[in-house]
């Protein structure tokens, strides 16, 4: 039997609410790519749920014509876990910011990842608290001057992907708001993965932290400052693709190709490695010493939490298909009073 399903367009995924981000905000681009990705994914609108915390980024669900919940600050992964455990039939996306996910919400992020709940977490990293008007965030660089750090912040920044690896993440990727094709692809990969997909998106907040990712988005500099990961391929970068990353023992170093160094000498990417050490090492490549990696760092199979829960329930139900409530009521020692 074949039914003609109406083919949705990206605009069909937009709600009737006015988008209220600042003009020029990187969030617009992510919204646009998400709508396109959903078209490609092809699930009906009603089977998709967006859950967010609080922050500029977390307004996202309001703009999607799917089910959605704009929850409280930092806790979106926990709402998503409850929802997904009960309704494994739904596609659940978590939209969060660097403050929402890594500051107040760090614990829930960590546990969703280690349990490997089948949800897709997209972290809009603008290295600032946007909604509360510009305090430094856990990803802000040390020394950052903001409203709450007038002579520079002291905190060492977190690297979200390293943290995810520390929690045993099964899918980890990074993309950039303005790399629209790459971003779209990355969202599709995240959606295809079974288990927690964790995607960091470099996002520009043009009001409070304009240019935070300039080095990664400027035409001139980006090819030198970014390295695009491809499974099974050597780590090559540079405008002329003439530079690469090589391992010296366990220490990465930048080398120039040619001059006796060939592609085979380079580090080869393996997103399927059962051990996360390579992915961890790649997540530690940071500006200005190294180009920063984008793409899929890790994509492995691992037991999925909500599947496990439902398997146990199904199994117990199958094994006790005749269990009645009266049996439950009457279990243990009972006696009659006449």
């Amino acid at each position: 039997m074949s039914i003609d399903l109406p083919v949705l367009k990206p605009a069909d995924f937009g709600s009737d609410q006015d988008v209220r981000w600042c003009p020029g905000c990187g969030d617009y681009s992510i919204l646009a790519q998400m709508k396109k990705a959903l078209v490609a994914i092809g699930d009906p609108r009603e089977n998709t749920v967006f859950i967010s915390g609080i922050g500029c980024s977390s307004r996202f669900p309001y703009y999607m014509n799917t089910y959605g919940m704009h929850s409280i600050h930092g806790r979106a992964p926990a709402f998503a876990t409850g929802l997904k455990v009960c309704r494994p039939d739904l596609k659940v996306w978590v939209i969060t910011g660097d403050g929402d996910a890594l500051s107040i919400g760090g614990n829930h992020l960590m546990h969703a990842i280690r349990r490997n709940v089948d949800i897709n977490i997209v972290l809009f990293n603008n290295r600032i608290y946007g909604l509360t008007k510009g305090q430094y965030s856990p990803t802000s660089e040390t020394g950052k001057i903001t409203k709450s750090s007038p002579i520079g912040s002291i905190d060492n920044p977190l690297t979200p992907l390293s943290l995810a690896m520390g929690c045993g993440a099964s899918f980890v990727a990074r993309s950039i708001d303005v790399n629209i094709k790459h971003l779209g692809q990355t969202l599709l990969r995240a959606s295809a993965h079974k288990g927690t997909s964790f995607v960091e998106v470099y996002q520009n907040c043009n009001i409070f932290n304009d240019g935070a990712w300039k080095y990664a988005t400027d035409r001139e500099t980006k090819t030198d400052n970014l390295i695009e990961l491809e499974h099974g391929k050597p780590l090559i970068f540079g405008k002329d693709r003439d530079k690469g990353i090589r391992l010296n023992g366990i220490t990465p170093e930048v080398v120039e190709l040619g001059k006796g160094i060939s592609e085979d000498d380079l580090l080869f990417h393996d997103e399927k490695s059962s051990e996360p050490s390579l992915a961890f090492l790649l997540s530690r490549l940071r500006q200005p010493e190294f180009p920063e990696a984008i793409g899929v760092f890790r994509d492995i199979e691992m037991p999925v939490y909500d599947e496990g829960v439902n398997q146990q329930v199904d199994q117990e139900q199958a094994a006790n298909s005749d269990a009645t409530l009266d049996e439950l009521f009457n279990s243990g020692t009972t006696w009659n009073v006449e």
Partner: protein, 614 residues
């Protein structure tokens, strides 16, 4: 079963086993309870143990006790003063003796009153030498020695042999109260069947204890407690936490859905998690969250999903849930939030009971955030209350708070087992899918109860977004409109207020008008009901009202309050219900407030009634 002494008939007895945390006193008490219930007695229990897993052996801090009242009439509490106290060591003796009635029976394991035992209990002299013991009927038994001898032939290590002591003590008490050994023998087989040596050792010890009584005629008299005249039916013993768990499973099935529990362990609520995690075959999903916040948030997620969702905790954990409970309130999704209260403030007295989280339940959230609050009155009432609470939640689309307490949670009493089919169904409808041309779905439209529709993700055409920002009436879109905000705040309050007409009217036990109304809530029910019964028998003009619905109050409640000259509110806190009632009805109430981590003794309430009605 025969015994040489003719038993003395008594209407009831209160017995406590007290010993070291490692001595198995909880097991002894539970067995005596079950055996007595099977014998047709009414029973009520009160376990009381230290916060440490194994507080240092032999010390006062390490004493664990289990008290049970068995009776030939209907009872409501585990009893005030003890008829019989069994103590396994000096620490247990000195910390429990003051609860023993003058003339009561004190059974002592004589073997553990050596120098070291005394030192651990910080005693210079043996309390057995205290002339004060003369007021009791003291029965000293070399339990350790006798137990070792009883199991000798099995060749167990001394350590293992000594572990059977509690069965010896039990056996002796069974003899004293003419109990049938069989239920406990069955239990031993069921529990230790896999370890035949241990099973046999326990059996032998139990019988040895019983026989010791019979053979030595250690006591002048033994007792017989006849069957209580409980209503006809099939019964089982039920503990409060267990009843909440089973009640919730029933509620889920009555509303034709699966149950989800999001919880983080905490004393004394953890047993609900433990119990529910055993019932996957009934479609129960339990999620042991990373903390209480994740627990309640996952619960909200599950409610959004369309499940019967619930979260359980105790005071400190509920404090952490406050922000998310506010979200649950403004989202208007149905769910249960269960607080098994313990001694506060802060970490407080984790293993002790108290009723001091009523304020928190009513007011522990930011903004105007009203939620219904209900409180079961006894272990078995937890079953009914769970179903009631879910009925309210599903009918009015709101989280409902259930306030239980440690006393109810761990206490046990006979529960009259209902037929599942006899329970009233909980009808829930979800809006149907819509097609493109259909009118727009309004997630914040209202039904006659002011409830909004519960639209489930996955339903075509009902796509909608909910969140914590103020929402426009009907559409639920974010709204900063001033008048809308006022209207929505009032509407959410009004919705909760209207529950007053949904719940049953308040009942009163005793005269419709009179000098005094004793008003109680939660676990103080038993002590209050008993005290009022006694006072009524003594001719006082006093009635008792047990308030099971704390927010909103029942619709006829004000009228009732006005029917009495005085209102006495006994509470295990410094006057929290009193505050609510005075604020709402401007009726001055008399508080009877106890915060000792223990339930009321009946006599404490009797005294106050006497003072107020004299």
């Amino acid at each position: 079963m025969s015994t040489t002494t003719t038993p003395e008939k008594v209407t009831g007895a209160t017995i406590r086993f007290a010993g070291d945390s490692g001595d198995g006193m909880q097991l002894s008490g539970t067995q005596l309870t079950n055996t007595s219930a099977l014998a047709g007695n009414d029973v009520a229990t009160f376990p009381d143990y230290p916060a440490e897993i194994r507080a240092p052996r032999g010390t006062r801090a390490g004493v664990s006790g289990f008290q049970v009242q068995i009776a030939a009439e209907e009872i409501f509490t585990p009893g005030d003063q003890l008829d019989t106290l069994v103590v396994m060591n000096p620490a247990a003796l000195v910390t429990n003796i003051e609860d023993l009635k003058t003339g009561g029976t004190l059974v002592v394991n004589e073997d553990s009153f050596e120098g070291k035992d005394l030192r651990l209990a910080k005693l210079d002299e043996s309390p057995l030498d205290d002339p004060g013991l003369d007021e009791y009927r003291v029965i000293k038994i070399k339990m350790t020695l006798l137990t070792r001898t009883a199991v000798e032939e099995l060749g167990l290590s001394t350590k293992l042999a000594d572990r059977c002591k509690n069965f010896f003590a039990m056996g002796f008490v069974y003899w004293l109260y003419n109990r049938d050994l069989q239920p406990t023998l069955d239990f031993i087989q069921a529990k230790f069947g896999g370890m035949p040596d241990i099973a046999e050792a326990n059996e032998k010890s139990l019988k040895a204890g019983f026989n010791y009584g019979e053979t030595t005629e250690a006591a002048i008299s033994t007792y017989q407690v006849d069957q209580a005249a409980l209503p006809e039916g099939r019964y089982r013993n039920m503990m409060g936490n267990q009843a909440l768990a089973i009640g919730c499973i029933a509620a889920a099935k009555l509303s034709d859905r699966d149950l989800f529990l999001g919880s983080y362990p905490i004393t004394p609520a953890s047993d609900i998690l433990h119990e529910l995690s055993k019932h996957k075959k009934y479609g129960v999903r339990t999620f042991q969250a990373e903390d209480e916040i994740a627990a309640v948030c996952s619960t909200i997620g599950a409610a959004f999903a369309g499940h019967m969702a619930m979260t359980t905790s105790s005071g400190p954990g509920i404090a952490l849930k406050g922000e998310a409970m506010g979200l649950g309130m403004i989202l208007e999704l149905p769910m249960l939030i269960i607080n098994v209260q313990r001694g506060g403030p802060s970490t407080g007295l984790p293993t002790k009971t108290e009723q001091s989280d009523l304020y928190q339940a009513m007011f522990g959230r930011n903004g105007e955030s009203p939620l219904p609050v209900v409180a079961p009155q006894s272990p078995s009432d937890c079953f009914a209350m769970a179903i009631d609470a879910w009925r309210i939640a599903a009918t009015f689309m709101c989280p409902v708070i259930i306030l239980s307490d440690g006393y109810i949670a761990n206490g046990a009493e006979p529960w009259k087992i209902p037929d599942f089919d006899s329970l009233e169904k909980i009808e829930i409808t979800h809006p149907a899918p819509r097609e493109d041309g259909d009118p727009a779905f309004l997630p914040y439209a209202r039904d006659e109860n002011l409830a909004r529709p519960w639209a489930l993700p996955g339903t075509k055409g009902l796509e909608h977004r909910i969140g914590g920002l103020e929402k426009a009436a009907e559409t639920g879109n974010v709204s900063y409109d001033p008048d809308n905000h006022q209207a929505m705040c009032e509407l959410r309050q009004e919705k909760i207020d209207r529950i007053a007409d949904f719940i049953p009217p308040q009942e009163v036990f005793g005269p419709e008008k009179g000098d005094l109304l004793v008003l109680s809530w939660g676990g103080t029910y038993g002590a209050c009901r008993t005290a009022v019964t006694h006072a009524q028998a003594a001719g006082a003009s006093v009635a008792h009202a047990q308030l099971r619905y704390l927010n909103p109050f029942p619709s006829n409640f004000e009228e009732i309050l006005n029917n009495y000259d005085k209102v006495l509110i006994p509470e295990l806190n410094l006057g929290q219900l009193k505050t609510l009632i005075q604020a709402k009805y401007l009726i001055e109430c008399v508080g009877l407030n106890k915060v000792k981590g223990r339930p009321f003794a009946i006599v404490e309430i009797e005294q106050r009634i006497a003072e107020l009605t004299r």
